[in-house]
């Protein structure tokens, strides 16, 4: 997501007077998001705290987070992209067909009111969750929301940020971006990075059975992938690094127990706003860290012949 219009959670805390959560349930999935970073905090430019902010929640069903919202908009499942598109049109002052809006489960007046509030605010932020980015439209939805935030900057300051789940998944994006240039699904089979979601994404590779070995760390695809994908993991040699013996470990050829990230192994993790934070492990684990084990595997691979011809051994006939 290069070029996205975003900010840190510190800026949200100190400046955001309009906060929109789309397709997420922070009350249950990110319990301290409201209290530590967004609506409940008093900020430098928001001395009134909660009273100085407007919170809107867009989701397909009523969750625990509704209680914290000033406005709740219930969208029909799979209609998020249509709603975002209508909002983008309204932001630009274009006419929108009432009937088309009604198909999304919302009314034109509700959307117009939302757009008016967005334009009136001093600093707006949209947090979007997996209810948006993992349902019909997927990354097109994320792109549309990011575009909406970018376009809002013609009127006021506006940003958008994905609500990242599992611990350091934001760090995985960052590390892959700074090492390969792409955030995920990077194919290094030809010795240089290629990126094509849908072709090189794990679920597709596993379901098609394209791979002939798997190295899994910090995940348990044996519990979460569709069955044909799990079958592939069981068929090919799979190697697992995990603090526990997981579902994937049970169908793997090799499992190595590692120490728990953040509790026993030190290092860095990225927060969802892409701020890196140091970990402060407190317990001494009897197991090695993931980092150490990967490094040892690299050392063992290094002793074997390289699969990619080194430049000096390549024929020089090719111009």
């Amino acid at each position: 997501m290069g070029g996205k219009v975003s900010c840190t959670l510190g800026e949200v805390k100190n400046r955001a007077d309009f906060i929109l959560y789309w397709g997420g349930n922070p009350a249950e999935c990110h319990p301290r998001h409201f209290t530590k970073y967004t609506i409940m905090q008093k900020g430098k430019f928001l001395p009134e705290g909660r009273k100085g902010r407007t919170m809107v929640l867009v989701d397909i069903r009523e969750t625990m987070s509704v209680k914290a919202a000033d406005i709740f908009l219930q969208v029909r499942p799979g209609k998020d992209f249509e709603v975002i598109t209508a909002l983008r049109a309204l932001v630009k002052g274009n006419r929108v067909d009432t009937a088309l809006v009604e198909e999304t489960g919302l009314k034109l007046e509700q959307l117009q009111d939302l757009v008016d509030r967005m334009k009136r605010c001093k600093f707006g932020v949209i947090f979007f969750g997996m209810g948006l980015s993992m349902t019909r439209g997927k990354h097109m939805n994320s792109a549309a929301v990011l575009t909406l935030a970018a376009e809002m900057n013609a009127f006021t300051k506006f940003v958008a940020m994905p609500m990242r789940g599992h611990g350091n998944v934001a760090g995985a994006d960052m590390v892959l971006r700074w090492t390969t240039g792409y955030p995920f699904g990077v194919n290094l089979c030809r010795g240089f990075p290629r990126f094509n979601p849908g072709e090189f994404s794990t679920v597709d590779l596993l379901v098609r059975g394209d791979i002939d070995a798997a190295f899994v760390l910090g995940a348990d695809p044996g519990a979460t992938m569709p069955q044909p994908g799990i079958d592939t993991l069981a068929r090919v040699p799979t190697i697992v690094l995990d603090p526990k013996v997981t579902h994937t470990s049970r169908l793997a050829r090799v499992h190595i127990t590692t120490s728990v990230t953040g509790i026993s192994s030190p290092g860095t993790a990225y927060r969802m706003d892409e701020v890196p934070l140091p970990l402060r492990p407190v317990l001494k684990s009897p197991y090695p860290s993931d980092e150490e084990v990967v490094r040892r595997i690299i050392a063992a691979v290094d002793k074997k012949t390289a699969w990619l011809p080194r430049p000096e051994t390549m024929s020089s006939g090719v111009a």
């Binding site: 998944v169 995920f184 089979c189 794990t202 090695p288 690299i298």
Partner: protein, 115 residues
Amino acid sequence: MTVTITQHATCTFCGCVCDDIELHDDGVKIIKTKAACSLGTSWFLNHTAERLYPDALIDGKEASVDDAVEVAAEYLHRANMPLVYGLSNVTCEAQREAVSLAEKIGAVIDSHTSL
């Protein structure tokens, strides 16, 4: 039992990555947390420094880490299109090593982001 208190510990259970947690531990277990939410608290209390699992398993049988590393390297080196997957619950330092391994063995590397 001596209890150690650590300030400003970091929770990595969700994307909030709260770094203001106070942890009380007895060397083996974390016995108390302050500032963490219910998800974070159960995550901290559920992980201990005990040896609950074998060091390594090869084909389901207990093995040493040294042997497991050799076997893993052999499988990965032999593969034409290996996949390196996950990266979510590990540090950036481990992720960087994983990228290096992926490059060495000519793999596809991917995280939960692609789901």
